[in-house]
């Protein structure tokens, strides 16, 4: 039916989201840096000064390795969930391939992610952790996290059309995940029986892998095969999200 140019459309939708988000901010991309920097400062203060209970060296970059993937995850998931309902005008009036709307929403957040990754790498180098060969894993791992978020967003944005409470469920899930993902603690203090659950959570696997590469200077895989687990869960999530979306998209017109 719609036989246009997918890449051109995707590019335009991403640029649109990005321009709208930043054109109305006087400080522009500075806001992308502010949130992780403030949280890094606060968490460092709490866990180094107020309750110095574990001996994690380089706590600021340790916690930043957790905050950057989490921040992207939560912004992309929340905005993505709203994307279909917010673009009702477009979905009800122009016969575009409907999958492209939530995917463009996630991809437009990657511009914000790129700025935060640059900040993270800058801090890592400033803390005296040099560049190593394992950095070559980084692009693949980020792509896998983006694929994972796309899968989640496809599912929740479609469900949000039928059930407008979905957005609040996603918001709450993000708050819960902040504690259940090792952002400010290490995997060592997690009880053994839960470790596998952590490793199969793409967000946790991402954070653990980042720390291995950037702080420990070793391969992200280790004994646990973190990247393989990340790839597995992300792909499965994406396929499930996409099939749910294509099942639900036909009736968007009636429910929007």
């Amino acid at each position: 039916m719609w036989n246009g140019d997918y890449l051109f459309l995707l590019e335009n939708l991403i640029v649109k989201d990005f321009k709208i988000r930043y054109r109305n901010m006087s400080l522009g991309v500075f806001w992308s840096l502010l949130n992780p920097l403030v949280l890094m400062g606060v968490l460092t203060f709490v866990f180094v000064k107020v309750m110095p209970n574990n001996n994690v060296p380089n706590f600021p970059i340790f916690v930043l390795c957790g905050l950057v993937p989490f921040n992207f995850f939560s912004i992309a998931w929340n905005n993505g969930t709203l994307s279909v309902a917010n673009n009702a005008g477009l979905i009800k009036r122009i016969p575009v391939p409907r999958e492209i709307v939530p995917i463009a929403s996630v991809l437009s957040t990657t511009i914000h992610l790129a700025i935060q990754i640059a900040l993270l790498l800058l801090f890592v180098v400033a803390f005296g952790r040099g560049v190593n060969w394992h950095w070559l894993w980084l692009p693949l791992m980020w792509v896998l996290e983006i694929v994972f978020v796309c899968g989640l967003v496809l599912a929740t944005s479609a469900l949000d059309v039928y059930l407008r409470d979905m957005r609040y469920i996603v918001e709450s899930a993000c708050t819960v995940l902040f504690w259940l993902v090792p952002i400010f603690y290490t995997l060592d203090i997690v009880p053994r029986e839960y470790v596998t659950v952590y490793e199969f959570n793409p967000l946790a696997a991402m954070i653990l892998g980042l720390r291995r590469i950037l702080i420990d200077g070793v391969s992200p895989n280790g004994d646990a095969g973190l990247v393989y687990k990340l790839a597995f869960t992300s792909t499965v999530t994406f396929i499930l999200g996409l099939s749910l979306y294509s099942r639900l998209k036909n009736k968007f017109f009636d429910y929007l």
Binding site: M1, I20, F253
Partner: protein
Amino acid sequence: MTVIEFKNVSKGFHRAVGQRLLRHYLEDLLGKSDPDSFHALRNVNFAINDGESVAIIGANGAGKSTLLSLVTRLAPPSSGEVIINGRVAALLELGAGFHPDLTGRENIRLNASLLGFSRKQAGDLYESIVDFSELHDFIDEPLRTYSNGMMLRLAFAVAVNLDPQILIIDEVLAVGDQQFQAKCMDKIYEIRNQGRTILCVSHALGILQTLCTRALWLDHGQLIMDGPVAEVLHAYEGRALHAPSE
């Protein structure tokens, strides 16, 4: 060649459909809300051939817009079959993909990609779109600074330059001032004379009479008359006179 075919098509909507919260689903489970549905279209059958220009008439709420949303495949039929061959350019609502914070230039690019232009086509057609809209001086201003008429000019310019096989016009013939309206009509006639299929919804019966050769008359979701435009319009006007409340 048949480009649009409706076989026994019905389209129903639940009255309660629209924004739904968890509460509504719980009420459904408890049997509180009534699943009362109404039919926007009932057992509609017709076929349109390549190159025909067809008017769709009927009172408000007769199902005209629903019919167009089925032709563009934005909505699936509840029962029956809709067969479409060819690329549809809908002027269902002009400027549907426009964003007020983007400039005219950015909106042209965005809208072009939404309507299915490739990067190259969009680039090639950019000048002719701006020329047609006559908005050269404002093209780098954000759309929110445009007047309503200026925005419609831009949207119309994008849509008619797509070179569609099936052009759908839904009550958008009144674009801009008289001079621009005349220009839009010329463009629509040009598209028609190239042998394109046109579907036109309007209450401006005079325009329909000259633009179209055939008319479909919808009443409460049913196709009650299908024939040469003069006959159908005559019957429609006669009925409108006898039943002024409708």
